[in-house]
Amino acid sequence: MAEEIVMPRLSDTMERGTIARWLVHEGDAVHEGDVLAEIETDKATMELNAYSDGVLLRILVQDGEAAELGAPIAVVGAEGEDVSGFSAASGNGDAAAADGAGETEAAPPAASEAVAAAPAPDAPAPPAGGGTLKASPVARRMASDAGFDLRGLAGKGSGPDGRIVRVDVERALAGGASAAPAAAAPPAQAPASAPAPAPARAAAAPPEADTVIEPSPMLKAVARRMSESKAQVPHFYLQCEIDMAKALALREELNAELADEGVKLTVNDLIVRACALALRDHPQFHRSWIDGKLYQHGAAHVGVAVALDEGLIVPVIRNADSLPLRELAVVARDLVARARSGSLRQQEIEGGTFSVSNLGMLGITSFQAIINPPEPGILAVGSVVERATGVGGQVVVRPLMTVNLSVDHRAASGADGARLLQTVTRYLEHPLLLLV
């Protein structure tokens, strides 16, 4: 019997995938495990494998086209079977999430697993396929146009049985996802019973522009995640200056010794190592706030933000606290190179417990970064600048680096953040500690 192949969940944050290209044609025989297609998710390009033998009877979603999670994308069955009953829109799609969701890797620490499974805040378990989310067609269309994730409102819409309707999306878009739809049901018949405040109705007119660009899936994912983070995570910021003289000297010495082996440490490697050790030293800071619970992290998995022409990606250096500096440098270099060439695997971009973003090489002296939820914080690193400063009553010139720590105030207090930053400073100002 012919079976639908549905768009699988290939990453935690994925809502839809784009068929980069089909590697088999209609009519081709396929065997379990064969690579059928390459799928571009919000972050990476992944391979889609066949999970049964048969003939690829029909392709429902063509190269370059996108499909929601769980939506049928192709039909596999016996040669000559009638597939007229299948269409791209008709998915029952229940198999989608079951196949592959959250099982991309042997579980690292318990907390990370919880992180990996964390859905949008306050959402009940996300529906497996697009078909089970109750939302009116216009609500779906508006959400899709705005890049807004309806699953956050699943079951909480103002319509019958929690169906998400137009006003719910209008309110969410106007007031951030926090606006509670269906809350405070007004008394029947009261004149005030018509909610929908005026601003919610005013559809923003598109601004004037020379051209309108359809963002890539990655750019949309970055936009959505950053908006959600700024809207939902209460950020606070701590700044300090770190004297980098010894760290720079150590790096120079090590690089001179390691040059023959082809290993080259970057300043960022030292910073990542310092952060990883500091996170290990401060478990009080090292935890994530998810749905009203704190998830304690053990090992430090530190993400390194890499700017791309089209978007931003944060590969994660796993167990950065237990990698010797030399290995950390090799791993980081490999991840950054593959981030730029677009060949990261999904598991390499998820599960971080902290991130470092460095704009020093671009001449930025100080900035503040947006937290990558559910991580508790991110360190924004500026350039090392020689500046006059006071040391022991004398004005001296030192190579100073300004760092800003952004902290999720639900997960950690000001003092927790300050202690972490103090320890990072200590490691970098006494860099031999990074080696022992």
Binding site: S136, P137, V138, A139, R140, R141, G157, S158, G159, P160, R163, V165, R166, V167, D168, P181, A182, A185, P186, P187, A188, Q189, A190, P191, S193, A194, P195, A196, R201
Partner: protein, 334 residues
């Protein structure tokens, strides 16, 4: 010119068309000396005489058939059927002849016939005399069906119907005859095109589609709901065939919500037809399923309370609208 009744608007259109074209003549029961059961033809017999305003026996099949024949031979008969209930006797002439002649004669002969007849209920005329059967004719290819709700549209559409080269069923309404409205000056040669709906009230939250007298009820409901900050758009279909679905669709694309109200039965009715078209054309614009409301699915009872319960009155339309709006989170439960 203000304050002309729907009845007078029809009379004026007939008078002006009789004067304009001597091929136009009227036929029907009691339309001459008695001036019609609802006095639409008042004064016309005296003015144009028995050749142009012809009285007929109580024999609908016969005089509708005579109208079809006269039209085939080049005249422009305007036949009055006392109420739409009696057209059932002449169904064969309307559906099997008037509607089919042009196609079956290879386009060489048309039937420029107008059948005027009031539909509607509300005067305890009971099951056989209270029907709104226009959908039966709107179902039939080859016929045109119009059902204006204002004196102006009645005037303009009757003129267009008389000048049309195909058979037109012109549906009036007993309760509308005394409704007042403005008309253009007599010399303006004003007409309203067949097959064009009109947005008679603009709104952003809900589209109510109606025809004939139900348009006025829909407007009342729109007034009531506006007190709850709900802005209803009302579309007067004016013509049922050809059906101006584009105007409805444009409105629903704006409001995302649609309710079709009709005096006739909803099953297989105007609402059924529009719900199908809206679902297809506005699928991604809808916030809730298309709602429809019509008369009780039963022969009209004689008892006044039961008659009121069966009619598509304002309260029934409002209740359906409130239910729809509640489902969309715009109103507390209806």
């Amino acid at each position: 010119m203000a304050g002309v009744t729907y009845r007078e608007a029809l009379r004026r259109a007939l008078d002006e068309e009789l004067a304009r074209d001597d091929k136009v003549f009227l036929m029907g029961e009691e339309i001459g000396r008695f001036e019609g059961s609802y006095k639409v033809t008042a004064g016309l017999y005296a003015k144009y005489g028995p050749r142009r305003v012809r009285e007929t026996p109580i024999a609908e099949e016969g005089f509708v058939g005579a109208g079809v024949g006269a039209a085939m031979l080049g005249l422009r008969p305007v036949v009055e059927i006392m109420t739409i209930n009696f057209i059932l006797v002449a169904m064969d002439m309307v559906v099997n002849h008037a509607a089919k002649v042009r196609q079956m004669f290879g386009g060489k002969v048309g039937v420029p016939l107008v059948i005027r007849t009031p539909a509607g209920a509300g005067a305890q005329l009971t099951a056989q005399h209270s029907q709104s059967l226009e959908v039966m004719f709107a179902h039939t290819p080859g016929l045109k069906v119009v059902a204006p709700s204002t004196p102006l549209d009645a005037y303009g559409l009757l003129k267009s119907a008389i000048r049309d080269d195909d058979p037109v069923l012109f549906v009036e309404n007993l309760v509308l005859y005394n409704v007042n409205g403005a008309l253009p000056e007599p010399g303006d040669d004003f007409t309203v095109p067949i097959g064009r709906a009109q947005v008679v009230r603009e709104g952003r939250d809900l589209t109510i589609v109606a025809h004939s007298y139900t348009v006025r009820r829909a407007l009342t409901v729109a007034d009531r709901l506006s007190q709850h900050d709900i802005e209803v758009e009302v579309v007067d279909l004016r013509s049922l065939r050809p059906l101006d679905a584009e105007t409805v669709i444009e409105s629903v694309k704006k409001t995302s919500r649609a309710l079709v109200a009709e005096e006739g039965w909803a099953t297989y009715g105007v609402g059924a037809e529009l719900a199908a078209r809206i679902s297809r054309e506005c699928f991604d614009d809808l916030d809730a399923p298309v709602e429809r409301v019509g008369g009780a699915e039963a022969p009209m009872p004689y008892s006044k309370p039961l008659e009121l319960a069966a009619l598509t009155l304002e309260d029934k339309i409002e209740k359906a609208a409130r239910g729809l709006l509640a489902d969309c989170g715009l109103l507390a439960e209806a």
